[in-house]
């Protein structure tokens, strides 16, 4: 298994859609074959279409607000000693998280395909909020599938979704979290694929959805590359890019332009949700060595039991609370290009406390997992090491959880 150079990772799959011969694919019911094929053809076409790309760039700049800031966290770096800590503040994007890139591209594709309805899943509520924003912007009718547990714990985003005129469909099956929301959304698409477009909220699901999402979030690393060159004159010698990983869309977007670099120069570190310290449950299939399984139409490392039943997961962060992970990250793990670890709920909360104490930054619980790793390793590293954390979400949505756990927000 090997990564090829000069080809985007999203395109390094075989004709059946597998990365490294075993991750990804399209394990879908017959009914979805045609809509998935249509979408694949449309995306191939649009990707090469200059007018479409121009339109995409226009909205990325004028609607999403690219580029998002790249800044040094001076106080945190000084406090910890060791490596310099920097942040790519993707949460400054319109809506407050990286999910806006994928949502905007899906809305543009939906328009191009002449469909009037768009549906999507959401965990933390950001994917749902952004899709509802994009739907409103482009005049599409929108339904968001969300686990009942997540509706309770991510209230601010639910309010935003409804304000944008989208309907939230609560999902009561299974663990009532993201995994069930994705299943229900896919079921809805099976029944309505003739007039409805589906947006999968991360780099997961059948092959084409991994590709579209990766194509969209790659904007993050494209910006970062330019910003690094501007800040340091050239790409520094020792960089570590730290990103939280749930489905893995922000991590892929944060890394994609840097995958071809030697890992000694640019190390990629993914941080999964380790769950509560005292719980056996987690959402860390990569770092806790889950087996390969098929979930939501793709093969990836999946938290599951011996029989193949998908395990319940547990994490304070709804956005990372997912038993599977992108096939692309499985590929990056097995080729050893990226390193994956996890942070517990407690570590993420502590990281949140520390970051907000020293910096004017308000990372949501998802990137707080990435900050936890940065805080852990920074003191041991040299001053010329550049640690960059993707602060990919804003903590406004976590208001209730933070109040409860930290006593304040």
């Amino acid at each position: 298994m090997k990564i090829k150079k000069n080809i985007p990772l999203i395109d390094q799959h075989d004709k059946y859609g597998f990365w490294g011969g075993k991750f990804g694919g399209s394990f879908i019911p017959e009914t979805l074959k045609k809509p998935v094929e249509d979408l694949t053809k449309e995306f191939q076409k649009l990707r090469k279409n200059k007018v479409f790309l121009k339109k995409k760039d226009y909205y990325f700049k004028n609607y999403i607000g690219s580029p998002t800031p790249f800044l040094k966290l001076e106080n945190l770096s000084t406090h910890l000693g060791g490596a310099q800590i920097w942040a790519k503040v993707v949460s400054d994007a319109n809506g407050g998280a990286h999910k806006i890139y994928n949502a905007t591209v899906h809305a543009l594709i939906c328009k191009a395909m002449g469909k009037k309805y768009i549906v999507g899943d959401t965990g933390a509520g950001y994917a749902g909020k952004m899709l509802s924003m994009a739907a409103k912007k482009f005049g599409l009718k929108c339904k968001i599938f969300m686990g009942a547990k997540d509706i309770k714990r991510q209230k601010p985003n639910c309010i935003a979704i409804r304000k944008n005129g989208a309907e939230i469909i609560p999902v009561y099956s299974g663990s009532q979290t993201l995994v069930d929301a994705v299943s229900e959304c896919m079921r809805y698409w099976v029944s309505n694929c003739d007039n409805t477009h589906m947006c999968v909220g991360s780099t997961v699901g059948p092959n084409i959805f991994v590709k579209i999402c990766g194509f969209s979030t790659t904007q993050i690393s494209r910006e970062l590359k330019t910003q690094l060159k501007k800040e340091f004159k050239k790409i520094p010698k020792k960089i570590k890019l730290i990103n939280c990983v749930g489905g893995g869309s922000s991590a892929y977007g944060f890394w994609s332009e840097f995958i071809d670099y030697d890992k000694k120069q640019i190390e990629l570190i993914g941080v999964e949700a380790g769950g509560p310290e005292k719980s056996k449950l987690h959402a860390a299939p990569l770092s806790r060595n889950a087996k390969i399984g098929i979930l939501h139409g793709a093969a990836s490392y999946v938290c599951q039991d011996k029989e193949g039943q998908i395990n319940e997961t547990e994490s304070i962060s709804a956005g990372l609370d997912y038993p599977g992970v992108s096939p692309i990250h499985c590929f990056l793990k097995d080729t050893k290009r990226a390193r994956y670890t996890y942070a517990t709920d407690e570590a993420a909360l502590n990281a949140y406390k520390m970051v907000t104490k020293f910096e004017k930054l308000n990372p949501s619980l998802e990137p707080s997992h990435a900050f936890a790793e940065a805080i852990k390793i920074a003191p041991k590293l040299s001053k010329d090491t550049i640690l960059i954390v993707n602060s990919c979400g804003d903590a406004k949505k976590d208001r209730d959880i933070l109040k409860k756990r930290l006593g304040k927000y």
Binding site: F27, P29, S173, G174, R187, V190, G293, E307
Partner: protein, 267 residues
């Protein structure tokens, strides 16, 4: 596989001038013992029995079958139990074909080859894997055929003409036509005439294939599709188990009544 039990069942139904009746229940719903009893009892009226091996993340099943699946998993059903239910059933009803139906991850974790061998051992006649479409299923289907197990291809209203031809070419004795864009258990939203027209298109490609229609078929709708080679009822049966349990009645009796009514509608 000309002399397969599945083929035989269709021939027998044809002799009686009616479509074959295929029933679906989830193995282990609501317990291992009960589901075997239900299977034995309904096989008096059903021509072919489908048995689901439940998965907790089913992306193509509606509420009724989901409920049955969760119930069975909660009651501890394991894949080996599914095989043992089939074995026990076959000891009594040697001639009644059994089709296992489920999602690919369960087979993948069990190991494809081991799964197929175990099917053969316990005398499973056919397999439906919901999320392993053509052409991804090519190798698997060949493996099944070698062990004399029918791999059943699915066709849906969205299947293109070209694809349809290829699928039929790669199919074994039976082909499953999904009546409409829906998960299992949806209300029939397409007219029977239209469904039968699509059905005829499939038949015209190869008359020797037994084509069954499923999704949205209940006591109310079954008669209107009588022209098909076979008709599958699943969700209505699962629903009956759920409501029997709620009413603290014996699901074996109630489900058997439903199946008897179904067969009477198409006789």
């Amino acid at each position: 596989m000309n002399n397969s039990l599945i083929n035989q069942s269709f021939k027998n139904a044809k002799k009686e001038n009616r479509p074959a009746l295929l029933t679906y229940i989830v193995a282990g719903d609501n317990s291992k013992k009960k589901s075997l009893e239900i299977l034995k009892s309904i096989s008096k009226y059903a021509d072919i029995c489908e048995l689901g091996f439940p998965h907790n993340t089913p992306i193509a099943d509606g509420g009724q079958i989901q409920t049955s699946s969760y119930r069975a998993i909660k009651n501890g059903i394991k894949i080996n139990d599914v095989f043992s239910i089939v074995s026990k059933f076959k000891k009594i009803k040697n001639n009644k074909p059994i089709i296992l139906m489920g999602y690919y991850n369960m087979i993948y974790q069990y190991n494809e080859n081991k799964f197929i061998s175990k099917c053969r051992q316990s005398k499973v006649d056919g397999l439906i894997v919901v999320d392993l479409p053509y052409p991804e299923n090519k190798k698997f289907a060949i493996k099944c055929k070698k062990k004399k197990i029918n791999f059943i291809q699915l066709i849906s209203p969205t299947t293109s003409k070209l694809r349809l031809k290829k699928i039929i070419k790669n199919s074994h004795d039976m082909v499953y036509y999904i009546s409409m864009l829906s998960t299992t258990g949806g209300k029939l939203k397409v007219s029977p005439q239209k469904i039968l027209k699509e059905y005829q298109k499939i038949k015209n490609l190869n008359k020797s294939k037994n084509v069954v229609i499923g999704f949205g078929i209940t006591e109310k709708t079954i008669k209107s599709l009588k022209k098909a080679d076979g008709l599958v009822v699943g969700s209505q049966i699962c629903k009956e188990i759920t409501s029997s349990l709620k009413k603290r009645q014996n699901p074996v009796i109630n489900v058997t009544n439903v199946v008897r009514k179904l067969i009477n509608k198409i006789r």
